[in-house]
């Protein structure tokens, strides 16, 4: 059966096989072999672990099969949020942002850090929101790790969706609502490089 290449991300190629999705972490020739294999194996393992854990908390694709560099999971027949977020109606937009906040809260409450929260790593199927790509995830109960996770999300919104970022962030923050982490986020942001400080 012919596999259909549906996406070429930064570290993997995604193939569709009927109702399944095959995520293949491809070799990167720019890295030396030992480092390349170490990273691919480690991230693959980490992603499987995180996907399985997250499956009970929020909507993520279900993991079906795993080997060293491949994960076979449910195919989500939806659209990448990055491409559609600007076309959503007001109501849909509010609902999606609220879900993002609640999802992140659910993950963080169980000590799961996504590590790469961008709109490229979220999918929308109808009104259902899925988080994907847990390759950079980690398990940590540290407030700092959670704050950096939020920081990544905020920066991604500001850079890619600058026109709606502020509105989106307000809803996400309110839905997220873990005061301790939001306080730490301010500290992360004030650390010199990121903001003008006089």
């Amino acid at each position: 059966m012919a596999l259909e290449l549906i996406a070429h991300g930064a570290e993997s190629k995604l193939y569709r096989d009927g109702s399944k999705l095959i995520k293949h972490r491809i070799k990167k020739s720019y890295r030396i072999k030992r480092l390349d294999e170490r990273l691919r194996k480690y991230r693959n393992k980490r992603e499987v672990k995180a996907l399985r854990k997250a499956y009970n908390l929020i909507k993520v694709p279900k993991v079906l099969e795993v080997n060293d560099y491949k994960i076979i999971m449910d195919f989500i027949d939806g659209e990448v949020l990055r491409d559609v977020i600007s076309d959503l109606s007001n109501e849909e937009f509010n609902s999606v942002c609220k879900k993002i906040g609640l999802y992140v809260k659910a993950l963080h409450s169980k000590g799961l850090i996504h590590g790469d929260l961008t709109t490229s790593n979220m999918m929308l199927r109808g009104s259902e929101l899925f988080f994907i790509d847990f390759g950079l995830s980690e398990v940590s109960s540290k407030v700092e790790a959670k704050a950096v996770d939020l920081h990544v999300l905020k920066e991604a919104l500001n850079s890619k969706h600058y026109d709606i970022a502020e509105r989106a962030w307000r809803i996400i923050r309110n839905a997220y609502g873990i005061i301790e982490v939001l306080k730490r986020l301010k500290v992360v942001e004030s650390r010199g490089r990121k903001k003008l400080k006089i």
Binding site: S29, Y30, R82, T118, S120, V148, V152, S159, Y162, R193
Partner: protein
């Protein structure tokens, strides 16, 4: 239209004369500390000492005199306060005495613009790696936006710090590159957080390993780990922004291994890779002149406060009217 560009954000005092069509001269004189890193006061004293000579040499190489200049551009941000001040005073003096317009220029954006001009790329994702800065910059919606950045120190600073701990004088990059050629693999931390990178953990790790490992192996492994991190986030940015040109800029862009890794990544992705020659990668006056001309032609208007230096101005604070 002839523009004089003055660069003085850090250890290099650079002056260039350029027209819209051509860079006529690009002269620089860099401060070299006797030990340790850049000492701000010493660096600014160096700049004050060499500035007239560098300007005169730049003009004479271009075959022009002060009277031929139509425009003075200078880097007003971001950088070391002491050294920025020298460039600003020199630029203001020239502008005042020659009665020509003065253009304040953002240093980071100048790196991107000279890259575009020299290499001919159109809408690149820029991996800008220098001493103090490590950013991935792409143009979107009227601004150069920062898609990825170091969370702590710049890659160049990191390399120089490692060099200092190993007893290699500033700037350490070239010596480390040489040593790395004969080194072997040692496992180090690999620190990518989303699109951002961080270096301090690796620095501590390397410092501890100095006692137990050979320097050449650490140099090799440091390069392999750190550059792989930079190339990885560049690739992420290419995928995220859906662009297919990568431009490499900044002092660390002189490193051959980093260039090679970028090239291989782009080839595997089907993207195009661009890097200007070394003289335009490091801090230089030509990039300031080039951006000065672009801003002048776009009719950018300045408030009085825009002419002041700003150590911390962010790349994405500057409205881009010339694209």
């Amino acid at each position: 239209m002839i523009c004089l560009g003055i660069e003085s954000t850090a250890h290099t005092f650079g002056v260039s004369v350029a027209t819209r069509e051509k860079i006529l001269s690009n002269v620089m004189d860099s401060y070299k500390p006797k030990k340790g890193g850049i000492h701000p006061r010493e660096a600014s004293e160096h700049h004050a000492r060499v500035c007239t000579d560098v300007i005169n040499e730049s003009l004479s190489k271009a075959g022009l005199s002060h009277k031929d200049l139509d425009l003075i551009a200078f880097s007003n941000a971001p950088g070391i306060g002491h050294t920025l001040g020298v460039g600003a005073v020199v630029a203001r003096t020239l502008s005042k005495t020659l009665n020509k317009p003065l253009i304040p220029v953002n240093h980071c954006i100048a790196h991107v613009e000279i890259g575009r001009k020299i290499t001919g790329c159109i809408d690149p994702v820029t991996l800008y790696v220098s001493g103090a800065n490590t950013q991935i910059i792409a143009y979107q919606g009227g601004y150069y936006r920062v898609f990825a950045e170091t969370l702590d120190m710049g890659a160049g600073n990191f390399i120089d710090s490692f060099a200092r701990y190993s007893g290699i004088p500033f700037p350490g990059g070239p010596v480390i590159e040489k040593l790395a050629e004969k080194g072997g693999y040692v496992e180090l931390p690999y620190s990518v957080k989303g699109m951002d990178v961080s270096f301090t953990g690796i620095l501590t790790n390397l410092r501890n390993k100095l006692r137990t490992h050979e320097l050449k192996d650490l140099c090799y492994s440091m390069q392999e780990h750190v550059f792989a991190m930079l190339v990885e986030v560049s690739e992420r940015a290419l995928a995220h922004c859906q662009k297919n040109e990568l431009l490499l800029a900044g002092g660390v862009a002189s490193n051959k291994r980093l260039r090679e890794m970028c090239k291989v990544m782009c080839k595997e992705r089907g993207a195009e890779f661009f890097v200007p020659k070394k003289e335009y990668c490091v801090d230089n006056g030509a990039m300031i002149a080039v951006l000065g001309l672009l801003m002048h032609d776009a009719g950018v208007k300045f408030k009085k406060s825009d002419y002041l230096i700003s150590q911390r101005q962010r790349t994405d604070e500057v409205m881009v009217l010339w694209r």
